[in-house]
């Protein structure tokens, strides 16, 4: 198992993540321009969505797939419930709701890193897991906001600005969700014929782009750690602990579901990674619009500076070992 860890840690993408973090620690001015970072991320969503869609086209839906997708959505709605319940008397209630949504939702880059971990290890995984990821992005946002409205608004204020249509739009039509779902559907429509047209672009470049993207993630995650240090309040220790414990807890839940559904090795690992990961793009974007009362200084450093590195550095090989051991 130590072996798996070390080989994970010495894969180029993860080493570039370290390099980015090191750049911040060493106060280098290394930086990926922001439009480029955005483009690399669009590329990854486009490629993984398309790949998943093509895979779905050749191995169509069966009961197990439908059950997996259903379980994924339930997972994404349940995680916020217990997260919120635990936090709501400990930190401001808007922050508790935003953190709940953050951990119920998923991180596409963590997922993508796990798929490339599987690809490099030669373990197969199903294209429907991309659909599972897409389905897990939104429910947590809605649950998080409903929890906030139920528990915070007994005094009735602020209610006028709420709009279901805005909530649903922010939850489901965020650019990154839209692109991954769209690419999935297009991949599914065009199938292997479509893939043959763009596979050099989508497959051959994938790991190289992932390296550059994780370099950027290393930079931004390390900056967030600095932010965390600046904040340094009492609540911070709760938040840090949660950011370390929640992914492991949620991974266990994912593992339970995976073994209940008797998933294959690859799909099981991906479901666990989805459960364990926390959002740092779609959820914050939605929260800023539908729950501006929540402080991004609490939920963002948790997901980006702690949970994200934890998952990609230690989590993926650890969850993999657990899958091997359990299934």
């Amino acid at each position: 198992m130590i072996d798996t860890f070390l080989s994970n840690l010495s894969s180029p993408p993860l080493l570039f993540f370290f390099l980015g973090a090191l750049a911040v620690a060493a106060r280098s001015d290394l930086e990926i321009p922001n439009q480029i970072a955005k483009f690399l991320s669009l590329y990854l969503l486009f490629a993984i969505g398309f790949k998943g869609g093509v895979a779905l086209a050749v191995a169509p839906f069966d009961t197990q797939i439908v059950l997996t997708l259903g379980a994924a959505m339930v997972l994404s709605a349940v995680v916020p419930l217990y997260t919120f319940m635990f936090l709501r008397n400990r930190i401001p209630i808007a922050d508790a709701a935003a953190i709940a949504a953050t951990y119920g939702s998923v991180s596409a880059v963590t997922f993508v890193t796990a798929t490339s971990y599987l690809d490099v290890s030669g373990i197969s995984w199903g294209g429907h897991m991309v659909a599972a990821m897409a389905l897990m992005e939104s429910p947590a946002i809605i649950v998080g906001l409903l929890l906030y409205r139920k528990y915070a608004l007994t005094d009735g204020d602020d209610d006028d600005s709420f709009s279901w249509s805005q909530l649903l739009r922010e939850a489901c039509l965020n650019g990154s969700i839209f692109l991954i779902v769209g690419s999935l559907i297009i991949g599914w429509i065009t199938g292997p014929a479509g893939m043959s047209q763009i596979s050099s672009f989508i497959q051959d470049l994938f790991l190289g782009v992932l390296c550059l993207f994780l370099l950027d993630m290393g930079i931004v995650a390390a900056r967030r750690i600095k932010d965390l240090r600046n904040a340094g309040s009492k609540a911070m220790s709760i938040l840090i602990t949660m950011a370390l414990v929640l992914p492991l807890l949620n991974a266990m839940l994912g593992l339970g579901i995976a073994s209940a559904l008797d998933l294959d090795e690859g799909d099981a690992l991906l479901l666990i990674v989805l459960a364990a990961s926390a959002s740092y793009i779609a959820v914050p974007a939605a929260m800023r619009l539908v729950l501006p009362q929540a402080n991004p200084g609490s939920y963002l450093p948790m997901s980006l500076a702690i949970t994200f590195p934890l998952n990609i550095l230690v989590g993926i090989p650890l969850y993999h070992a657990l899958v091997r051991w359990t299934l």
Binding site: N34, A37, K38, S41, S161, D216, M217, V220, A221, R223, R224, D227, Y280, I281, V283, P284, A285, R288, L289, P292, N295, P296, G297, L300, S303, L304
Partner: protein, 98 residues
């Protein structure tokens, strides 16, 4: 040359659409918009690093010589500023008419 008020508004990028709608509603004669900028205020630092969940700001500049429009703009902005943060500055300027 004509006296006018120069209005400068900094808000989060994601509400820029709401500000534009407001400007249309109150009948502002035009605006200039600088997107994707940074800032720091009561609600923390906005580094404009969207992939890290960080938001950007944007800056509107509006030259306006009609006080009714200015008043309705101010009235429309207040709730927006108190909900999502930002600043609005007004000053006197001369407008070179072409």
């Amino acid at each position: 040359m004509k006296q006018c008020t120069r209005i400068e508004i900094v808000v989060e990028q994601s509400v820029s659409g709401q500000v534009i709608d407001l400007l249309h509603k109150v009948g502002a004669p035009g605006y200039t918009l600088i997107p994707d900028i940074r800032g720091e205020g009561d609600r923390g630092t906005r580094r404009g690093d969207e992939l890290a969940g960080d938001s950007s700001n944007c800056l509107f500049i509006i030259a306006c010589d009609d006080d009714t429009i200015i008043e309705s703009l101010k009235a429309g902005l207040r709730p927006l500023l108190s909900r999502s943060g930002g600043v609005c500055l007004l000053s006197a300027a001369e407008w070179l008419r072409h």
